[in-house]
């Protein structure tokens, strides 16, 4: 088990290094001069040159790259060009808000998709099943940002039940979290329905029923338990979507998380913040998938890592 975790950890570090390199390449090597972009079109040649020296952009690329990796290792991604704050500090302040939003979305996603998926599987072919499958397809088709706007239009502007933007109590969390959860509900419901149909055909379910266990016990102890692994896997895989979606949902709802910081930084050409934000989200994604891999052996004792 220890060796397995170590191997996974090394692999995660490799992927993180790759991601760091991709960000470096995209930001520095792609055509266009960052110094010119940051300084703006009115800047004089001297201003641009001064900025270039300040950002270390006058150095050869390999030197920049090594320096950049060194900075990342020390968690120092430079000062924000607009916020008068270190890039890591600015991102760190907002990580919590994004985490709350994403976690709430996952919880809502599971709370909705388990009952929906189970009911659809147990009443396969019924009107309920059809409705659930339409809902799950819709969940995967309706774009996040538009759904968010429609929620604002209906629940904030027309009905005036919930606030449309900002952060505060539970009230502020409801709309963005539901917006973010819907695609997840779509995918998980479908997965749980299919999984339940498979599990219900298994011999051990028939055995459990034959020995007279209550319907509910069979369902919870035998059927549902076996659904957890694929569900956890898919949630792990969907975190990428979820974190990417958070960037957009945060923008729609003015939620002060890393995503909104990132989008603002992009329109301000604030490269240190862009780097820090992208790295933070990517690192979280890699970490979550590492945790998902490790959690398998707890969910299913048959899985042992040599």
């Amino acid at each position: 088990m220890g060796a397995y975790i170590l191997r996974r950890l090394l692999y995660a570090i490799f992927v993180l290094w790759g991601a760091l390199t991709v960000v470096f390449v995209v930001v520095r090597v792609v055509p266009g001069d960052p110094a010119q972009l940051i300084a703006g079109s009115q800047a004089t040649a001297q201003d641009v040159q001064a900025l270039r020296v300040r950002l270390g952009l006058d150095q050869p690329l390999p030197v920049q790259y090594i320096r950049y990796l060194g900075q990342v290792a020390r968690l120092d991604l430079g000062e924000s060009l607009r916020l008068n704050q270190s890039a890591i500090g600015a991102v760190g302040e907002r990580v919590g808000a994004t985490a709350i939003l994403a976690l709430t979305a996952i919880v809502i996603g599971m709370l909705l998709s388990f009952p929906l998926g189970i009911v659809a599987a147990l009443r396969r072919g019924s009107a309920v099943d059809s409705m659930v499958s339409v809902l799950s397809l819709l969940g995967q088709s309706v774009p996040n940002f538009w759904l968010g706007l429609m929620f604002i239009l209906i629940f904030a502007r027309q009905l005036r039940w919930l606030p449309s933007a900002g952060i505060g109590g539970i009230n502020h969390l409801v709309l963005p979290a539901c917006t973010l959860a819907l695609p997840l509900v779509g995918i998980l419901t479908r997965l749980i329905r299919t999984g339940m149909l498979d599990v219900l055909n298994e011999e051990y379910i028939r055995t459990a029923q034959a020995k007279g266990l209550a319907h509910r016990t069979v369902l919870v102890r035998h059927a549902l338990r076996n659904m957890l692994i694929p569900v956890v896997t898919v949630i792990g895989l969907q975190t990428g979507q979820l974190l990417g979606g958070a960037v957009i949902v945060e923008t729609v709802f003015g939620w002060p998380g890393v995503g909104r910081l990132l989008v603002t930084a992009i329109s301000n050409r604030d490269y240190p913040i862009i780097q820090a934000g992208v790295l933070c989200i990517t690192a979280s994604f890699i970490l979550i998938n590492l945790l998902v891999d490790i959690s398998y052996s707890y969910l299913d004792p048959r899985i042992r890592y040599a």
Binding site: F14, V15, L16, G18, A19, T21, V22, V23, V26, V27, V30, G32, R124, G125, S126, A127, S130, L137, L138, Q140, S141, V142, P143, N144, F145, W146, L149, M150, I152, L153, R157, R190, T194, L197, N201, G240, Q241, L242, L243, G244, G245, V247, I248, T251, L262, V263, I266, S267, I274, V278, I281, T282, F285, I286
Partner: protein, 308 residues
Amino acid sequence: MNSQPPGVVSSPVAADVVSPVAAAQRRAPRARGIGRQVVPWAVPLVVYALIALIGPFVISYDPVTVKTSQRLKPPGTTLADGAYAWLGTDQVGRDVLAQVVRGARVSLVIGLCAVLVAGIIGTVLGIVAGYFSGALDTVIMRLADIQLAFPSILLAILIAAVLGPSIGNVIITLAFTRWVVFARVARAATLTTKEREFVTASRATGATDGRILVRHITPSIVAPFLVIATVEMGLVIIAEASLSFLGLGTSASLPSWGLVIANGRDYLNTAWWISTMPGIALSLVVLGVGVFGDRLRDALDPRLAYKR
């Protein structure tokens, strides 16, 4: 469905347990079945493509002219010049329907081009990785792993932010973020096909790698490619709209759906239709692509079929 006698309801369950013999017997009429299973579900997509291709000629759209006298008119208003605004007008008096129709073309063009570019690059890399194995395989697939570590829309935002808004750049951005899926699928299909007897036989008769790749490997990839391409089409259309919504997609002179939705954001209180209408169009198209993709996968890859 409710009219069925109770006993019939359980029959789909029994149909799941198919013996290998029965499966083989079933396979014969499948080719004919595929058409019947899939074609009706392509109708909404054909309608969408026709609207995207012909629509802009029927309903002209003028991005420049500002008619303040007819701004923010609700759907169903007859305008001063006698035109009927089916979906209302926006904050500078432009017809929303015309923008939706023009936007259909933008998302179709970007969706098709991005999927095609990503599909070709990804498939070629996947075949090369799977067929030649070795160091090349390792390099390509590790690259894919690294890229999968990024939430794809995040990578798209990053690249689009550096490249700046334009149709070409959106296509490059989305192609760059979506090639991995194609590469993985092509590699998997290549790995299984190259071990098959007919490939070994072909090699024994002196066929070159090139001939084997073209005649044997490539055909085995067509079915999974079509399924993945359909799924990716929906994702790419959403990604394009999301980028445009953030101001990172098409330039402002082309009304992409995402851009129009973003324009209407400030007018949610007074003119709900500006953001609502393009969003409905967008959702319908993605839904149509999704349903078609499901049927296509059920028909081409029965192992993954959704149990109805």
